[in-house]
Point group: D2
Chain length 328, copies 4
């Protein structure tokens, strides 16, 4: 309805709030640049609206912590669009590891390679590049904030492990760029596992290659976002396996995230839809009176957002201090 | 001929030397464990025999340097079996980079994943595992010495760059193992490029995955040893390309390293054969009176051997010193 | 709105027709079994509603021809859900061939392999299997009608050629099944090209593998529905190429069928959406007064439907007559 | 030794025969064009030499039958270089089917696509093309004789089934070529299975793509010569599996055909070596007094040769007679 198009988020939130409860909007989706996350999140939450927010959750760690306080106090549903965690084969990967099929996890390699910032396209005004490479809009990081946080979040989501500390080497390869466009990190996990997170926005020739590999004492698995329907599982002394959505051999939980029969490919949009579905289910529970338990949500929420900001801080700090180890 | 089977390398070298020149052996191939490289190399060279030696070239850096002096003084042909550099598609990768098709190199990711040491098979006497995990036979390193040097050598060979410094995180994942079986390294190159070298012998489920990716400002390439006949080239704003041996579109140099028509797969043995062919050609030149120019050999030689030992030293030093940066 | 859910298509069509023009539905989507295509199509068209109909277009060829007369007389928009023709990389394949990049077409191999009818699941009442294997509901063919027509339609759509004649070997592998569940066909095209169409619903282990390969004098291309975002192009004496959606090197026309940046995978749903988008655009043109030109629609329509029925007839006739050549 | 290089096969065979038994050659390898198989085979066998002969075994079926009589009478070892049957993963495929893992076989698709005859290179004197396209040297067939027989032999070897009858469509696509350069065949097997064999030497852009797919009631397998170390196995309701050489999970028999540890790729040369190894073992048995049992050889022999000639005859006859079914 045309009369519900607003000229600002402030106007939207305040006018919607004034509508009768059964007519007003249910939630706000925030897809603005990083420096414009905190204010609309805060306003929405303080006026009773659930929030789906883009990552990284805020402009800096302080904002993220402040937002966490607001969310927890609000008791509203808050989700972060780390949608890559919502692909069916990512759910399956998580199940496989949880069941112990890989044994104790030894090593994790997460990568995210993009090539679109290989040239200084911000100087010719490309909109998406402009704010991401601008300290005043993106915060202290370009590449790590934009895609490194996806790699970090996916790693912790799938393995169930926490990154304990990291050391990083960060670079601005493209001339005239003040924020880093490339970062390589060594990481150590809370269970003793080791690993690397390797991200770049100047990997010329690459599209959008987010890849996760997890190695345990009994085998390893591998998932690649640009080929999301093939989960590769290599168990020791066993033929390599390729698991695909829509098949009976998958975990029951995984089945919930596929809409089509096996062999009918799904992609990025469906991963977002899966995220929104879980978000929506939680809102329905809220409406039926359930109190939100922020520890048990089946989607990334404010704690993941704060963690992502800690990760960014740690990488940039290490990168500027001779790749020292930094606890996150 | 049975009468030329000897009971020791000493006996072999001394008796062969006593044969008439046109009857004696041409060269010695040394495929013993690391602690048994230096002595037979030295004896062979000092008695006038060319040498093909396994990597890493020696037990430690001091031995390697001493061997370098002996080689240079001998003026004999010396080769190191980094045979992975002899695959035709590796030659092609080197040509592509040299021609500048990728532009300035920004980033290199080299990996070598094996799973065969995921369990403590040395404790049950597995011969190959036994000496590689034994400090007194392998030297200060297991995984980095055995396969990390392949990744390092392949990286420098293909890119033409030198690793300037590195920081490393090394681990012995398998209980009771004194040497590392896993290592992750951040590396910096002499041209300003950055990268990572990630190696493991406890990557359970993996066979022998040596993979090199090189990213430049105009595109990237990728080569995987277990699928050696497909060189993947992704240039910016161009369809992904797959280059294969035996085709006219390859560099003339590359053509020298293929024996069969396109579509007839070659593998590991042929890569070794290519290495030996170049080694043999150099011996023939020697016989015709040419003085060996150690800077212009088309195979890894003593300087690569010394460099490999420096690499091992740097990784282990960094790994034991909080992942500090170490110049190599 | 609940008051627009109807108990039959007849009721729906008649009541909707009685609504004011700006309130009534725009078109009817027919996704019923084959024997239930003709009647609702006819009723919809005769009452002024555009139609999107499932394939094969009718229960038999006579019905299809009758429907063709009705469609042409109606001057309404009619589409057939051969949605596989709407994938962006299928559009690109068509462009490449039209531009002559493959030269004269010599050979086409189309396949469609499914495994879901490997067992007699109709006997235990599986709904999708029940009507497809039932002569009174599916018509004279199971496998060829259900998936063979997709292979036939995709072949003619991409190549721009027409199948002139075919010979076929048809089989019911599963005991107790009266209609064929497998068919192999040799085909000849109007330009002299040859080929094969190989389809099966008893290819146990396969999901939904629709694959098209087109060979011309200058090269060939290959597209696989279960990996829809990689179009493989092999030109003579040129590295194999892999073309992917969202890239600037694609034809302008192809770009219209992708919604997301390169590297964000799209799938089956988006191919359907592309089909509906083109269908919708034609309806909008109709509303603005344009007369439908059935020869120039950018989606499969009634002539494709009739052609599909001729194909089914030819295959079954050949299959029952010692694989004689049959003109279609 | 230079004094054993001969100017003709006649000279070679007769002079070698005159040498003392422990000095003379063991066997003859015949790699001449088709019209030059029979005579040297005959002469060698009649003078007591074992024979390894190129495929197809003879110039025509009559010659093949005559040769069969000679072989059987000679009691010498005779092998045909269908070396593709000697890849380790082909041995594994045969084992899997023999064990019944795929259940009853329903369907087989064999393909062999090459592009090297896409142009009339024989007219410019290309040696390999010249005789293969010349009726007086190749016989009645070019493409089917040269590569179709490989597809036929591999099919029967792996499945253990016999082709009972076939119908074929054959074409000479390149102007001025008298023999066929492309053929598509429907086939029926002795167990009721159906299938297709699709071969071409004008598949421009292809190198040497021999591919076999076998579908049974419980699953299917797939092997591709240009990627010989990956055997794909898809069992119903099970993740896709990829079996690779050198692993413990393979059949014991398969292990005999690999020389290197898993992950060290082998190729075409090794497949030939496997063939020669089995041939050599049979010669050793012969030398130790064992009578050759032509039904139990672990390599293709004279019966396969005759069968190949029958296959060629059947395809060409069907192709020239409106694709009628021909029993082979």
């Amino acid at each position: 309805q045309k009369n519900r198009v607003y000229t600002s988020y402030r106007e939207m939130i305040l006018i919607e709030k004034s509508l009768p409860e059964n007519e007003r909007m249910d939630f706000v989706s925030i897809v603005t640049p990083n420096f414009l996350h905190f204010d609309p999140c805060k306003l929405a939450l303080e006026n009773g609206f659930h929030v789906m927010c883009e990552k990284p959750v805020a402009f800096n760690l302080d904002e993220a912590k402040a937002l966490e306080t607001i969310v927890l106090k609000s008791n509203l549903v808050f989700a972060l669009t780390h949608n890559y965690t919502s692909y069916p084969m990512v759910k399956e990967a998580k199940s496989i590891i949880k069941e112990g099929k890989l044994g104790k996890i030894f090593k994790v390699i997460a990568e995210y390679q993009q090539g679109w910032l290989s040239e200084n396209i911000e100087s010719s005004g490309q909109k998406q590049a402009l704010w991401r490479t601008d300290k005043s809009k993106a915060g202290i990081s370009c590449c790590v904030a934009d895609i490194g946080t996806h790699a970090e979040n996916l790693t912790e989501y799938v393995t169930g492990l926490k990154i304990k500390e990291l050391c990083a080497d960060i670079t601005s390869f493209v001339e005239g760029r003040e924020l880093e466009d490339d970062a390589n990190m060594l990481v150590r996990f809370d269970n003793g596992a080791k690993g690397a997170i390797i991200v770049s926005q100047v990997a010329s020739g690459e599209e959008n290659e987010l890849k996760l590999r997890v190695f345990g004492e009994k085998g390893n698995l591998e998932w690649l976002q640009s080929d999301p329907n093939n989960l590769i599982l290599k168990l020791a002394d066993t033929p390599k396996q390729v698991l695909r959505p829509g098949n009976k051999y998958l975990n029951a939980e995984t089945q919930l995230y596929t809409r089509l029969p096996a062999g009918h490919p799904e992609g990025y949009i469906e991963s977002l839809a899966n995220l929104y579905k879980n978000f929506g289910k939680e809102i329905l529970k809220f409406k039926s009176g359930k109190i939100v338990n922020y520890e048990e949500l089946e989607f990334p929420s404010i704690s993941d957002g704060v963690r992502g900001m800690r990760f960014i801080d740690a990488v940039i700090h290490s990168g500027k201090n001779n790749s020292c180890w930094v606890i996150i």
